[in-house]
C-alpha cells in the first residue's frame, strides 16, 4: 500500500518521467494499431516487432554503443525491411500473406536471437541491457532514452492527427481513395512507417515478443465501445496509457518481474472484458438482447392467446383459466405463469383467483399481434406465393418484430385487406 501511495503521489521526479514516458509509448502504439487493425493487417505488426531485434543487435555490433538514437535507427531499418519483404514475397510468389508474415517473423527473430546470444557470449561489458528488448522494462527508461522515445511518440501522435482524414479513407476504402486522386501508395508508405515507429517505441515498454499486443489489443478493445473512429482512437490511447502506467508501477514495485507481460496481461483483461461486456457489441449484451426477445415473444404470445380466445367466444373481457390457455397452445406451465405475472405488473392482464382477464391495454396489444400475424401471412401468400398452410410458422416470429412504420407499409402494399389467407378477419 505504501508503495502504491508513493508511486501515485508522483512525488519522485523519476517516477513522473517514467510514468509519462510509458503513457506516451503505450498510447502512441495503440493509436497506430487502430489503423492497422481496421486495414485488416493486425498481425503484420507482430512481424515488425520481431524483426526489430536483429536491427538493434546489428546497430550495437557496428557502433559498439547503446546510444538510443543509433539503436533506433537499426531497429527502424530492419523493421522496415521486414514489411518490404512481406510485400515482396506475397506479390512476387505464390506464397500467401499469413505464411509470409510467419516466415519473416520467425526468421528475422531467429537472426536477432543468434546475434544477441553471440553478443552476450562475446563478453562485451557494454552489452548488458540489450536483452531488455525481449520483454521490456519501463522503469529503466531514464535520461536520454526516455527523451528520445517520448519525442518519437509525440511525433507519431502529431502525424496521425495531421493525416487523420487520409489514413481513415485508406483503411476504409482504398479503391475510392485512389479514384479521388489520393496518393495511396504514399499513404501506405506513411502507415508502414508509422507502424515501424510505433513498434520501435512500444518495445521499450513491453518488449519485442509481446509488442503485437500493444498494437492489436487496445484497438480491438476500443472497437467494441464505439462506432466512431475518433472515439475509438481516443479510447485505444486511454487503454494503452492505463496499461502503460500499470506497467511502470509493476516495474517500480517488483524489479524482478518482466514488465511487458504484466502490461499485456492488463490490456488483455480490458479487451476480454470489452468483448464480453461492452454495451451493444459485447457478447453478454447480445445474450441479454436475445433473452429480452424471448420474454417479449412469450408475453405477446400469451396476450395473443387471450385475445384469440376472446375472439372465439366473442367476448374479450371474461377471465380464462390457465388450462384453457395451455390447451390452445403448449407453453411450459412455469414459464406461462411467470409471463402472466409480469404482464399483470405491466397492467396488461388482471387476475382473479386462478383465472386471467385482459385489460383494455392488453386487448389492444393482443389485437396488434394477431393483426400483424395475419397481415404477414397474407403478405407471404400474395408476394411470395407460399401455400396458405406454410405461412403460419414464419408469421409466428415476424409478428413480434414488425415496427409501426413497417406495419403501415404492409397495409399499403396489401391494400388494407379484411381477411387473412385462412379467411380469418384481420382486426
Amino acid at each position: 500500500m505504501q508503495e502504491f501511495l508513493e508511486f501515485f503521489s508522483f512525488a519522485d521526479a523519476n517516477i513522473r518521467y517514467v510514468t509519462l514516458g510509458s503513457v506516451l509509448l503505450a498510447s502512441s502504439s495503440a493509436v497506430v494499431g487502430c489503423f492497422t487493425l481496421l486495414r485488416k493487417r493486425a498481425l503484420v505488426g507482430d512481424a515488425v516487432a520481431h524483426a526489430v531485434l536483429p536491427g538493434v543487435c546489428l546497430a550495437f555490433i557496428l557502433s559498439g554503443t547503446k546510444n538510443p538514437f543509433i539503436l533506433l535507427i537499426g531497429a527502424f531499418v530492419t523493421g522496415w525491411l521486414s514489411l518490404v519483404t512481406i510485400d515482396f514475397i506475397t506479390s512476387r510468389s505464390r506464397i500467401k500473406e499469413d505464411t509470409a508474415i510467419g516466415l519473416v517473423l520467425s526468421v528475422f527473430f531467429g537472426i536477432g536471437i543468434l546475434l544477441l546470444t553471440s553478443i552476450q557470449h562475446s563478453g562485451n561489458a557494454a552489452q548488458s541491457g540489450l536483452d531488455k528488448f525481449l520483454f521490456g522494462k519501463a522503469a529503466s527508461l531514464i535520461g536520454e532514452d526516455l527523451i528520445t522515445f517520448s519525442v518519437v511518440a509525440v511525433l507519431l501522435l502529431l502525424v496521425v492527427i495531421l493525416f487523420y482524414k487520409e489514413l481513415t479513407l485508406l483503411c476504409f476504402d482504398e479503391a475510392y481513395a485512389r479514384t479521388i486522386g489520393y496518393p495511396v501508395r504514399a499513404l501506405e508508405l506513411l502507415l508502414t512507417t508509422l507502424t515501424v515507429f510505433a513498434v520501435v517505441v512500444g518495445i521499450q515498454a513491453v518488449g519485442v515478443v509481446l509488442m503485437a499486443a500493444m498494437l492489436i489489443t487496445p484497438a480491438a478493445a476500443a472497437r467494441f465501445w464505439t462506432e466512431n473512429l475518433k472515439v475509438m482512437l481516443l479510447l485505444a490511447a486511454l487503454i494503452g496509457a492505463f496499461s502503460g502506467i500499470a506497467g511502470a508501477y509493476v516495474s517500480y514495485t517488483a524489479p524482478a518481474m518482466p514488465t511487458g507481460p504484466w502490461i499485456v496481461l492488463i490490456v488483455s483483461m480490458i479487451a476480454i472484458f470489452s468483448f464480453a461486456l461492452a454495451p451493444g457489441r459485447g457478447w453478454v449484451a447480445r445474450l441479454l438482447r436475445q433473452r429480452r426477445n424471448r420474454t417479449q415473444i412469450l408475453e405477446e404470445n400469451l396476450l395473443k392467446l387471450l385475445y384469440q380466445l376472446g375472439e372465439l367466444k366473442q367476448d374479450f373481457y371474461t377471465s380464462r383459466s390457465l388450462s384453457e390457455l395451455l390447451e390452445r397452445r403448449s407453453i411450459p406451465k412455469g414459464e406461462a405463469i411467470s409471463g402472466l405475472q409480469k404482464l399483470k405488473r405491466q397492467g396488461y392482464v388482471k387476475r382473479d383467483h386462478q383465472s386471467w382477464t385482459l385489460t383494455t391495454e392488453g386487448k389492444k396489444r393482443g389485437r396488434r399481434v394477431v393483426r400483424l400475424h395475419r397481415l404477414w401471412e397474407l403478405y407471404l401468400t400474395q408476394y411470395l406465393h407460399l401455400a396458405a398452410d406454410h405461412v403460419h410458422e414464419d408469421a409466428e416470429t415476424i409478428e413480434h418484430i414488425i415496427t409501426p412504420e413497417l406495419e403501415k407499409r404492409l397495409l399499403e402494399e396489401l391494400n388494407y385487406p379484411d381477411l387473412d389467407p385462412h379467411s380469418a378477419r384481420i382486426p
Binding site: R289, Y379, L384, L386, E393
Partner: protein
C-alpha cells in the same frame, strides 16, 4: 407456377436459410423430378448457391427440412455429388489433375483406406469422359479456367453418384468447354441421373434445361422449362425487389431475433 411432383428426388419443405440471422431464402417449398436437368436461375444475390448448399446441409438452416431420395441427407451421402464454384479453391495447391479427380472416390473408400486399382480406373475413366485424359499428370496450377471446370466435373463423375449439384459450372469457361459440358450433362440425364445446375444466363437456359427453378429470395416458379420461362414469371423474378422482405430481414439481424420461435432439431 410452382409445380410439385410425385416421388421427387429432392424434396425441400418450408426451407428458410439465414446468413447472420438475416433470412436470404424464405419458406422454399420445392420438389424436383428424377432424371431431369434442372436449372436454378435468378438475379445476383437471389440465393441460388445458398439453395443448393442448404440442400446438401453445407449451411445451417433456420427452418424446414430437405429430403433426398425420400431420406435424410446423412443416409445418402454416397449418392450425392457436388461441383463447387471454381473460385472456391486455391488452384495453386500442389496437386495433379489425377489427384483431384481421385478425390471423388474418397467418400466411398472409408477411413484409413487407400485408393485401389478400381478407384484409379474410375478416376481415369471420368477424365476420359471430359476429354482430359492426357492431362492426368498435369499440375492443377497450369490449367485454364475451362480445364479447371472439366477437372471438377470429372471429380464428380468419378463418384458415380445419382444426383449432382453444380454451382455455376458455365461461369468463365470457353465455348468449347461449355458445349462439351452440356453434352455430358445431357448424357448423364439420359442415364437417369438428376443434375441440378446453378446458372446465370437466361439466354441459354431455355435450351439447356428441361426443368427450371426461378428464385429471388423466395421461390418464384418451378416447372418444365417452357412453362416457367415466361415473360410474366421472369419479370417477377428479376423486377421489383421486395423491399419489405429485406427490411424485415434486417430487423431480424439487428435485434438478434431467432428466425423461428422454436429451434429446428
Amino acid at each position: 407456377m410452382i409445380l410439385q411432383v410425385d416421388n421427387p428426388v429432392v424434396e425441400v419443405h418450408d426451407l428458410t436459410v439465414s446468413y447472420d440471422r438475416k433470412p436470404v431464402l424464405w419458406g422454399i417449398d420445392l420438389t424436383l423430378p428424377a432424371g431431369a436437368l434442372v436449372g436454378v436461375i435468378g438475379p445476383n444475390g437471389a440465393g441460388k448457391s445458398t439453395l443448393i448448399k442448404a440442400m446438401m446441409s453445407l449451411l445451417p438452416i433456420s427452418s424446414g427440412y430437405v429430403r433426398i431420395f425420400d431420406q435424410p441427407l446423412k443416409q445418402v451421402y454416397n449418392r450425392i455429388s457436388y461441383v463447387p464454384q471454381r473460385e472456391s479453391v486455391d488452384w495453386d495447391f500442389p496437386a495433379s489433375v489425377f489427384d483431384v479427380v481421385l478425390m471423388g472416390r474418397y467418400g466411398n473408400m472409408g477411413l484409413f483406406k487407400r485408393p485401389r486399382k478400381a478407384d484409379k480406373d474410375a478416376a481415369m475413366e471420368a477424365l476420359e469422359k471430359v476429354g482430359m485424359q492426357s492431362f492426368a499428370n498435369r499440375q492443377i496450377s497450369q490449367l485454364s479456367g475451362g480445364q479447371q471446370q472439366r477437372v471438377f466435373l470429372a471429380r464428380a463423375l468419378a463418384q458415380n453418384a445419382d444426383i449432382y449439384f453444380m454451382d455455376e459450372p458455365f461461369a468463365g469457361v470457353d465455348i468449347a468447354t461449355e458445349t462439351a459440358i452440356i453434352q455430358l450433362l445431357r448424357q448423364m440425364r439420359d442415364q437417369g441421373k438428376t443434375v441440378i445446375v446453378v446458372h446465370h444466363d437466361l439466354q441459354s437456359a431455355s435450351e439447356y434445361f428441361d426443368w427450371v427453378v426461378l428464385l429471388n429470395m423466395r421461390l418464384v416458379a418451378s416447372g418444365p422449362t417452357d412453362k416457367v420461362l415466361t415473360q410474366e414469371l421472369l419479370e417477377q423474378t428479376y423486377g421489383g425487389k421486395l423491399t419489405l422482405l429485406s427490411k424485415v430481414g434486417d430487423l431480424l439481424r439487428r435485434q438478434e431475433f431467432p428466425a423461428r420461435e422454436t429451434k429446428v432439431k
